[in-house]
Symmetry: C2
Subunit: 319 residues, 2 copies
């Protein structure tokens, strides 16, 4: 009845997502402390900073200092987010400290793309073509196709799976044309519209059409369904998830101030651990990192596990 | 692949659970205002008060005043919680305003029962026998069997499904002996140990052994898995759930201060609504009631939907 994976790969996006959205300013040393704490939890991939324009995102004006400052560990892949050729050049200055690969990112909602980036479907694809060319020139592989608003859109409402499939096809077509070999397809619930039923429908359809493409889910907990959605993904064999420690990061979209952002890493790890799916993460260490994140931002974070705790210590007390 | 129900029945326990655990004191008129607001949302069953000793639970010293004060509506069944013969007598004074039926309540964890009620397995059953007799004397039907700690226990650790089945069998045996016809079996995740896998295992086993017993789930969101657990219950055909508006009520057990309590009614309703399962509830009206509950208790409540909102208004804006 289910294709539960034996182990999952988590991309921890707490530092990048969280410190971008917090009113801050968050001191550089605090950002570094959280990255270093996370890299001792067993997490294998941390997205640590955002190399975007400091004019648009002042909270990441210290991206260089953060990346220069964390303690690298051979078992942990640290990455950074960037969108432009300028961002790529800044990231490339840290080739020795960062794992650098490119993504083709397309939105399944035309309205979202037009409003957020002022690009229609054709212009999105064209922009990504230039993005791929910039990577080729820099000798950086592009490995991932990421589809935003894959489950619904605040501006456009429900997004039909056929529309998502067309967007995936656009991305695969671009990859083929530009000689890119994609390793992963990420479906992002950018605005918190996913439900278990929509996960089943879309993941099922994508998996049937492109059985060899590794799927990843980027889920938001805007309306409390994030972990139920992750569970539905697991049941369909999805083994890669983005999440944030403590549930760091909020929802950047208008219309739901204060809503949670990404699913909390602790809740995802607990779900997997209690179902016999390996994450490689020490949940109690991750909870400590989440509490550090709460002290840094100065307010409670959404993760219920930060208050409920793991089950391990109760088992230990009981035995 | 699934037995999703077409519609579900929700027992809204927010007033009873929430006002019991809040540091308060909550004014009687505020309790009444929330009950009245909830009874206009389409909810059909509200557990409104707790008739317990005011010495033990001072926050419910005004149970009589609350039940005397709310506005009854023919379509809404209002109930109250009680444990003792004294409690039953107090509730019976409101036969005209309350729906009164009795429950047999047993804990699947012996340690929990001994520590919480100072009763072992035999003493639990004996106490429930007297409880049933008291109901028979008052002419009140006993209709429900409720199993506490059905998915795990802070004192005892994991609880094997076989142990839960034995506890259910104890209750059914007592019902048969005392001439009681049970209509419902409630499985309670009293301390937040359930996972989708444990729901599948236990609900599957119970349904196979007692296919005619209507199942109900009382889920807590202590560790953020509550809605994923509800979804697993739905997939197995469970159509009755307890929940609380806003996620009112916290976790009364030692070891996780500040952890969420029951699953939030708004999240349960959103999950069902978006999956085509009828709840009868107007989600936007329920969200307004949740915001009233937040104003009454004076702090944010756990329900993500209170901040993320329903999807209806975004669909309306998009169309």
């Amino acid at each position: 009845m289910s294709d539960l994976p034996q182990h999952i790969h988590i991309v921890e996006e707490g530092p990048r997502e969280g410190f971008q959205i917090e009113p801050g300013p968050i001191p550089t040393i605090d950002k570094i402390a959280l990255i270093d704490a996370l890299s001792l939890t067993g997490l294998r991939h941390i997205q640590a900073a955002s190399f975007v324009s400091a004019k648009i995102v002042p909270s990441w004006a210290d991206a260089e200092a953060v990346i220069a400052g964390f303690t690298p560990r051979p078992e942990v892949e640290v990455t950074a987010l960037y969108f432009s050729k300028t961002g790529l050049a800044r990231v490339l200055a840290f080739r020795d400290r960062l794992a650098i690969t490119g993504s083709i990112s397309l939105a399944a909602s035309d309205t979202f793309s037009r409003r957020n980036l002022n690009r229609d479907r054709a212009a999105q694809v064209e922009a990504m073509r230039q993005h791929v060319v910039a990577h080729a020139e820099a000798g950086v592989p592009v490995t991932r196709l990421s589809i935003q608003a894959a489950f619904g859109c605040n501006f456009e409402g429900d997004i039909a799976p056929t529309r998502v499939m067309e967007t995936v096809a656009d991305g695969l077509h671009l990859a083929a044309e530009t000689g890119v070999t994609l390793r992963e397809l990420s479906l992002a619930d950018t605005m918190g519209w996913a439900t278990p039923a929509r996960i089943e429908q879309l993941v099922g359809a994508v998996r049937m059409r492109w059985p060899d493409l590794r799927l990843s889910l980027h889920l938001h907990d805007t309306r409390g369904l994030g972990i139920a959605n992750a569970h539905s993904g697991l049941q369909l064999g999805v083994a890669c998830f983005d999440s944030t420690v403590g549930g760091l990061g909020g929802c950047p979209f208008a219309g739901h101030p204060g809503a949670p952002g990404n699913i909390a890493s602790e809740e995802l790890v607990l779900l997997c651990e209690e179902m016999g799916i390996e994450t490689g993460v020490d949940l109690d260490a991750l909870i400590e990192a989440g509490r550090l994140a709460e002290r840094i931002v100065g307010h409670p974070l959404p993760s219920a596990v930060l208050r409920g705790g793991s089950l391990r210590r109760f088992r230990a007390l009981a035995s």
